[in-house]
């Protein structure tokens, strides 16, 4: 895919917190349809970079282009509407809402109602709500959450929360899915399931940017960038990364 423009292009991204530089000249592309991984030890700036891409933090330097357009002025919500959706290192489920309702929130953005329509329960508002319900129900089945659909999300295990968070993101039809440490808190079996999910979603046309320090999960990525103290020190496929002497030195400790 080198001839087509990348879905996401980061150029010279730099950021610091109170004089402490956390990202320096980070430059890489996420090609459309790809799975790109980002590894690095704790504190290497992975989550900061994610917060920058998803709009929670504005970078002090550099540019981000999504589908060829700068994201500099786009709010978190706007980015979501254009198909850029993220998950969080600690799954952020809506605890008091049921599993089904959580997923319904994920596809609410695909419909539009005014508050007046909602107050008066007009046929349009009811139609939109039915549509949201139908999509969420289908997603519930697809992600094997059907048995849990009426339980409050607070009662789920860490693994179920992770799947719920991904289901909720995917139901909104993202083009680029940003997964922040999706394997943290999961057991080996759950990580295997997660890997399968990522591959399957990618086959369905969703581009994935994956942050993790789980080397096993990273094998799904076609390209992996290694972040160390805010700088990219190596890029390539996982096998090449694992052989890279710099990575072995700073990351694997050998």
């Amino acid at each position: 895919m080198p001839d087509s423009a990348p879905l996401l292009a980061l150029r010279e991204i730099g950021h610091s917190f109170g004089g402490l530089s956390v990202l320096r000249s980070v430059t890489f592309d996420v090609p459309e349809g790809g799975i790109v991984g980002l590894i690095g030890p704790n504190g290497s700036g992975k989550t900061t970079l994610f917060n920058i891409i998803s709009g929670y933090i504005h970078p002090l330097a550099g540019t981000i282009a999504y589908r060829g357009r700068s994201l500099a002025r786009e709010s978190i919500q706007k980015r979501g509407l254009t198909g850029l959706v993220r998950t969080f290192q600690t799954p952020q489920v809506f605890e008091k809402m049921t599993v089904l309702e959580n997923i319904m929130v994920g596809c609410a953005k695909l419909t539009r109602t005014t508050m007046l329509q909602d107050l008066l329960r007009t046929p349009a508002a009811r139609g939109q709500m039915r549509e949201i319900y139908r999509r969420a129900e289908a997603a519930c089945e697809r992600f094997q959450l059907g048995g849990l659909r009426d339980l409050p999300a607070a009662s789920l295990t860490a693994g179920q929360r992770r799947i719920l968070e991904i289901a909720r993101a995917v139901v909104g039809e993202p083009k680029l899915l940003l997964l922040d440490e999706p394997s943290s808190g999961l057991n080996a079996q759950e990580i295997d399931n997660l890997r399968e999910w990522i591959v399957r979603l990618n086959e369905q046309g969703i581009t994935v940017l994956l942050v993790s320090h789980d080397m096993g999960l990273m094998t799904v990525a076609r390209t992996v960038h290694t972040l160390y103290f805010g700088e990219i020190i190596a890029s390539g496929d996982m096998a090449a990364i694992q052989r890279d002497p710099k990575v072995r030195e700073v990351y694997l400790g050998v």
């Binding site: 998803s54 929670y56 978190i76 919500q77 706007k78 979501g80 509407l81 959706v85 993220r86 998950t87 969080f88 952020q92 489920v93 809506f94 605890e95 008091k96 809402m97 309702e101 959580n102 319904m104 929130v105 994920g106 609410a108 953005k109 419909t111 109602t113 508050m115 909602d118 107050l119 008066l120 329960r121 508002a125 939109q128 709500m129 949201i132 909720r168 993101a169 909104g172």
Partner: protein, 321 residues
């Protein structure tokens, strides 16, 4: 089983409707008057309940919108000689516009700061109601506001006005229920549980909060106009910061997430002071104690306590069987 439940529910609704329809004829005039106030306070309280229960916003400015509705009705009917409906409409439009203009900046605040922001709005509005006596009549107020007239049927007695006010209150409760049940309601609950995640799913927090604030102002203004036509006289004393605090108590006492809870809260603040006043000077202290007791012992209001009580009964019934 389902049809049995439905039948039982329909029976309950029929009984409640019969009691509601008979009530103003069975009680003395002063109680009918209090029931009218309960309806008016229910409408004002519904908006605050939506903000408090579904957005986590403490609104201490409802007396402002209540006042705008009341003065709009007074000014349009008494000063301009226009039909009553114009007062309702002018009040609603001004209140909603003000809520939008003020809401956009102050709803960026959260928690105590936002509560203080709304308190400031109430204090400023209360001062302006006093200062702008060319519009509001100042402390002398505006008197002679006509009773409402529905196609020649004058609502001049509490027992008549009761039906009108409560039909409006039921309509507002229906609208609030719709809102909670709708796409907007879904996003509101998401925002309350985790605003960070809601933003990632493209829920526009700022716009949603502002729109609910505007709906709250609309309910406040509607209640104010109904109040003006009920008492026929409005003056600054009715729209002070104290009144805003009383309005906030409605969802706090009744239960902010429950729509019937708002009616319970409105009954509490209209009837309890009246009942306690028979005990003489100590009545304000007793009312204060009752308030503290409800807030401390029932953090999710009387309705929340009732739901918990019922759940316990069901659990006990289940274990017996």
């Amino acid at each position: 089983m389902a049809s049995l439940n439905l039948q039982r529910n329909l029976l309950w609704i029929a009984v409640a409707l019969a009691v509601w329809a008979a009530l103003p004829f069975l009680v003395p005039r002063n109680i009918a008057d209090l029931l009218v106030f309960t309806g008016i306070y229910t409408i004002a309280g519904l908006g605050i309940g939506l903000l408090l229960g579904h957005c986590g916003i403490v609104n201490l400015a409802q007396a402002t919108f209540y006042g705008l509705g009341a003065y709009a009705s007074a000014y349009c009917t008494v000063m301009m000689g226009w039909p009553s409906i114009t007062g309702f409409l002018v009040g609603a439009v001004i209140s909603m516009a003000l809520a939008y203009v003020i809401g956009r900046p102050i709803l960026r605040l959260t928690g105590y700061f936002l509560a203080l922001g709304t308190l400031a709005l109430s204090a400023i509005a209360s001062a302006l109601f006093f200062e702008w006596d060319w519009l509001t009549g100042g402390t002398l107020g505006i008197g002679g506001i006509p009773k409402l007239d529905l196609l020649g049927f004058v609502l001049d007695r509490p027992s008549r006005y009761y039906f009108f006010v409560w039909i409006v209150a039921f309509a507002c409760m229906w609208a609030a229920h719709n809102l909670v049940d709708s796409r907007s309601g879904l996003m509101l609950r998401a925002m309350r549980d985790s605003s960070t995640a809601a933003a990632a799913l493209s829920v526009d927090l700022q716009s949603l909060r502002t729109r609910v604030f505007v709906v709250c102002a609309l309910f406040g203004s509607l209640a104010g106009s109904l109040f003006a036509h009920h008492v026929s006289f409005v003056s600054t004393q009715s729209f002070t910061v104290d009144r805003s605090i009383t309005f906030l108590l409605i969802p706090v006492i009744g239960g902010a997430t429950s729509i019937p809870g708002i009616v319970v809260g409105a009954l509490f603040i209209t009837f309890l002071p009246e009942l306690l006043s028979k005990l003489g000077d100590v009545h304000q202290i007793l009312f204060g104690l009752a308030l503290v007791a409800v807030v401390v012992l029932m953090p999710d209001g009387l309705m929340g306590a009732w739901d918990r009580f019922r759940a316990r009964l069901v659990a006990r019934g289940g274990s017996d069987a």
